[in-house]
Amino acid sequence: MELSGAEIVVQALKDEGVEYVFGYPGGAVLHIYDALFKHQAFKHILVRHEQGAVHAADGYARATGKPGVALVTSGPGATNAVTGLATAHMDSIPVIVISGQVPTPVIGSDAFQEVDTVGITRPCTKHNFLVKDPRKLAETFRKAFYLATTGRPGPILIDIPKDVTDPNVKVTYEYPKTMKLRSYNPAQKGHLGQIKKAIELLLKAKRPMVYTGGGVILGNASQALTDLVQHMNLPITQTLMGLGSYPSTNKQFLGMLGMHGTYEANMAMHECDVLLAIGVRFDDRVTAKISQFCPDAAIIHIDIDPSSISKNVRVDVPIVGPVNSVLKEILKLIKAESWQPDIAVQTQWWNQIDIWRSKQCLNYNRDSDSIKPQFAIETLYKVSNGDLYVTSDVGQHQMFTAQFYKFTQPRRWINSGGLGTMGYGLPAAMGVQIAHPDKPVACVSGEASILMCIQELATCKQHDLPIKIILLNNGYMGMVRQWQEMFYGSRYSHSYVEALPDFVKIAESFGHVGMRLKDPKDLETAMREAFTMKDRLVFMDIQVDSTENVYPMIAMGKGHHEMHLAPELA
């Protein structure tokens, strides 16, 4: 088949089974857009800012497990995509970004809308390519999808100069069916000897603890994890990225751990004697003070990425491999040993955990006249029966959602954990809603975060995306305000947003429904009403208590056992 470079881009995406491309046209990608116009091989979602395109592709990928695709032009199109790439990179999300570039003869001449895109994106992609020959396009696309979706997933950028997509230059097109790279061989299974060592530790443990992260979701290992944890009656905690891979409604779940984790999860981490860490990277928000991290524990760490192992915390039994197959292998071998739990030992550990639990560290004032942000999330959980895709932005609202919305399935809780990108929530929700048009999708946000990508309300209108925006509006950059209150003597330096827009009018001006809520008594009815509007985007501006803080909290430089509890509990 003889195709132009632009046609190859379209055909390769089709051959990869791509259903949606999130994009924004511009000079350097006009040949590609022209090929799109003629072929219509997949649906193109026109966004309003390139950052939104990449976040939407990222949200689509997180909600489906399939790679998300974004198409942007050169120069500012590419630089606007950088925040999206870095977000996907930190959370290991398979995203393919195709960027236009100035024609090869003028690369390096500071041409109009020229920027060194592969240079800029090198540290925030898993890999990137500059394709200078249309005959290399097909192979590069196959490589890009292969790299993005295998091993530890991640974003890949393909930079294509305009002359490479010239409609008048036709080359032979053949899409490679398989791909093998001599320099890239992700582990296919865990080392059996290491797995046996891990089992030995687990079976001997008196105070075991399981700590899991986004890797379990990315590795589609939720079932295997649940089976193992329940078979051995293990207590389990999860990171922000891991929520949903084990049902949070189950009694063995101790809640999230780390800086805003529960008292019981953090105390159990501190006191455990064997820690099983799965698909995690020992991030600083999770470990708290490294030198005090799990002081008594032998640590087993399962991860697909060897460089995650012993990076921040030295582990005793590393297992490099796909978490799903390793967890299945562990359970199979444990069952084969016909292991019986020592009930007395287990009971003692669970009794201790129940004592920590009885602190009820997430309690808040439920009799308040103003809407508490925690109450808003609890109401969202109640109204949606826990069956909801939830995206969030970054800050207090994100932590409240992680603490109070009980996720029971993987790929339902979608937020920027690693990079902490304000502005992520709305465009990510677009990707989720496009992936699951018949499912309810909510974006929990704050009045500061939402303004960072507010323009995407237009995309939602154009493509009929009935997202429910749950805006916890406290008038402050809440998390900044909380740190200033706790660690900066209540000097609220520039964290108060003095000139807030009327969000109801904003929503309406974009063609959506806006609501403003002030009274806790009205909240449930209003939320129910919002969710009955199945074909409308509803923007709920919920005026919450402006001084509420997220508790528990571990201050920087403190250990898991040194939490700040809510003042009424401390």
């Binding site: 240079g119 500059l130 320099s183 890239y184 060897p306 460089s307 192992i309 012993s310 990076k311």
Partner: protein
């Protein structure tokens, strides 16, 4: 501790900047870096010298291996190996200085490869220590310019770093 790490890299544009960028982005030390194509034109061979404690070196190797363009990696410091570095030194060589410079060159098995009425260029190969020793042996004030290649390394014995 000092480590000398050999890499086989895909000979593609940008591969070297991925290696260099990794060191700057993660704050690792890089003392020397050499790179050139091999007998297989699709591969280039890199030798880099870095320092760090055991944990840091382990991370450096894992992070390097994670780069898609890195085909093979070997930590030469782990087993017997040979290191050589090339140095070119331009010295002021007026009549009175010449006998001493010639003697030194002979002792260090260096070669004079360029001569003018007032200067020499001396070529010298060896380990970094040997090159250091030569430089400190040259009488004070005579050195005009020093160019060092950074070390290249290879393991001893029959086994090679190949694809």
């Amino acid at each position: 501790m000092r480590h000398i790490i050999s890499l086989l890299l895909e000979n593609e544009s940008g591969a070297l900047s991925r290696v260099a960028g990794l060191f700057s982005a993660r704050g690792y030390n890089i003392e020397a870096l050499t790179v050139a194509p091999t007998e297989d034109p699709t591969l280039s061979r890199t030798t880099l010298v870095t320092t760090g404690n055991e944990d840091v070196i382990e991370q450096i190797k894992k992070q390097l291996n994670k780069l898609i363009d890195v085909v093979k990696l070997q930590d030469l410091a782990e087993s017997p190996h040979i290191e050589r570095e090339l140095m070119l030194v331009k010295v002021r060589a007026e009549k009175d200085d010449r006998p001493e410079l010639m003697r030194l060159s002979e002792i260090f098995r260096a070669r004079v490869i360029d001569v003018t009425e007032i200067s020499y260029v001396i070529e010298l190969t060896g380990t970094g220590e040997k090159l250091d020793a030569f430089l400190s042996a040259v009488p004070e004030g005579l050195i005009t310019e020093v160019v060092r290649s950074g070390p290249s390394g290879i393991s001893r014995g029959p086994k090679g770093l190949t694809v």
